[in-house]
Symmetry: C2
Amino acid sequence: MENNERIEAALEAALAVQRDASGPPRLAAAMRDAVFPGGARIRPNLTLAVAQACGAEDLELAAGAAAAIELMHCASLVHDDLPCFDNALTRRGRPSVFAAHGERLAVLAGDALIVAAYQSLLAGGSAHPQRLAPLIQTISTGVAAPSGIIAGQAWECEPRVALTEYQRAKTGALFVAATVAGAQAAGVASDPWRSLGECLGEAYQVADDIRDVALDAEALGKPAGQDAALGRPSSAAELGLCGAIQLFDRLIAYASTAIPSCRGSAQLRTLVRLESKRLVPVSLTRKLAPSMARVAA
Amino acid sequence: MENNERIEAALEAALAVQRDASGPPRLAAAMRDAVFPGGARIRPNLTLAVAQACGAEDLELAAGAAAAIELMHCASLVHDDLPCFDNALTRRGRPSVFAAHGERLAVLAGDALIVAAYQSLLAGGSAHPQRLAPLIQTISTGVAAPSGIIAGQAWECEPRVALTEYQRAKTGALFVAATVAGAQAAGVASDPWRSLGECLGEAYQVADDIRDVALDAEALGKPAGQDAALGRPSSAAELGLCGAIQLFDRLIAYASTAIPSCRGSAQLRTLVRLESKRLVPVSLTRKLAPSMARVAA
C-alpha cells in the first residue's frame, strides 16, 4: 500500500468510528467535508515517511498517528474559516465547512474532529500500548496552549505578537508533532527529529505567506491576500517576496541537514527536496522575481 | 483530601500544563474563566465516588479522569454559549466566556479544553498505563459523534429529533462516561456501571428542564426560559411540570437500584439521594405543584 492510501484509509476509519445510523446525519456530513477530499496531506505524509526512515516494523500505529495529526489540522482549518476568524467561504477549491453546513455545525465538526484524532491513535495503538502515552503527549503539545496550533491562532487575538513566535505555534508546532510522532510510532528516540519538524514547519509557513501574496484564489483554492486583509503577520510582508523566497530556500537547506542519520535518510532528503519544489515552484519565482537565481536545496 | 479538593487540584494541574509565559495570555485567561469558579462539579464527583465505591487503591488516575470529564463539560458549555448557539451572556452567575473574552477566544478556549482533557488523563495515568486506552475510549465516546455530547448539541441542527435520543446524547453520554470511567480508573469491570450513569444523566437533564422553567435567571446563574425561547426539546414542555417532576423522582429511584453491589454501594446511594434533593428540592415542588406528594428516592 502507498502512503497516500494508508493515510486515506486511516482517516476513513477514524470518521467511521463517529458515524452510525443513530447519530445526527448533518454532523457526520460536515465532518466528512472537513476531511475529504484532502489537500496535500503533507503532515501525515511526513509522519509516515519518518516512521519508515526509522525502520518501523509495521505502519499501523504510524498511520493512526498520521491520521490524528491530519484530523487536528482539519479541525483547525474548519474553526479558522469561521466568520469570527477568516470568514472564508472557500477552502481547497470548495465551499468551506461553515459555508456549506452553517456556523453551528462547523463549530461542532471541529470539536468532533479533535476527539476523532485521539480515537485514531487508539485504533492504531493496540499492538504497542506503551507507545500510546508519548504519542498523546506529542500530538497534544502540538495542538494546545502554550505553543501548539490553537495558541498560534490565539496570538491573532493579542495586541502584539512576534512573527517567529506566531508562526512557530500556528504552523511549526504540528510539523514538529508530525516528525516526532513518526519516530515515536516506530519506537525509536524522538528528540533528534524535532529540528527537522521545526525547519519544515517554518518553511511551510513562509511558502504559505508567499503563495497568499503571489497566487490568485483559484490557484490557492481559498481566498487570496488574506494575510494583508486581516492584518496578519506575514514573512512576505515583512521581508518582501524575494526575501521570503530566499528564507524559504535557506530553511529547506537546513531541513535537509537536520535529518538524523538513519536507515532511510536518503529517501527522506529526496522527499524534502520534491516537496519544496511543489510548495514554491521555480516557475513561480521566475514570474515574481525574474532576476533572482535560486539554489536547489 | 476531600473529593472537591481533589477535583479542583486536578483541574488546576490540567490548566497549568497549557499555561506558561511563552503562550498567549488572553487564551490562558479565557480557559481559566471557563473552568473556575466551577458549578456543582457533579460529573467529576460521580467519577471519584464510583472509583472509591469500587475500592480504588489510589485516586490519582480517578482524579485525572474526573478532571478530564469536567474539562469536556466546560468546553461544551463555552461552545454552547456562542452567539451561533445560545448566545448566552451569563453562565454560573458571571459573564460567559464569549461575553468576557470575545467569540474568537471562546472558540479557541473550548478547543484547548478538549485537548486539556486528554492531557489530564495522561498526567493521572502514569502508575496504571494499561488503564489509559480504555479511559480514552470511554471519555471520547461520551463526547464525540454518534452519541456523545457533541452529537447531542448537533441534534439541535437537525429538522427532527426525538426527546430521548437528544437528551441521551446531550447529557446522558457524559454521565455514562463519568460512572464507567470511575470503575475503569479503579481497575474493575466497568459495564455494570453504565445503567447508573444512564439513569443519573436522564434525571439530571429532566431536572435541568424543570429548573429552566421554574427558576429565574438569578437563581439559575444563566438565562432562564431558554428551552422554550430556542425551541429545544424539553421534558417540562412535553410532560408538564408535574409530569417532569414525577419522571425525575422515578429516574432517581431507578438510579439507586442500578448501583452495582460493591464495597461502597451504601455511601453511593446516600450521595444519589442528597444530589437529587439539591437538583429538584422539595421546596421547589411545593411552590410549583402544591398538591403533589413526592416520594423520597
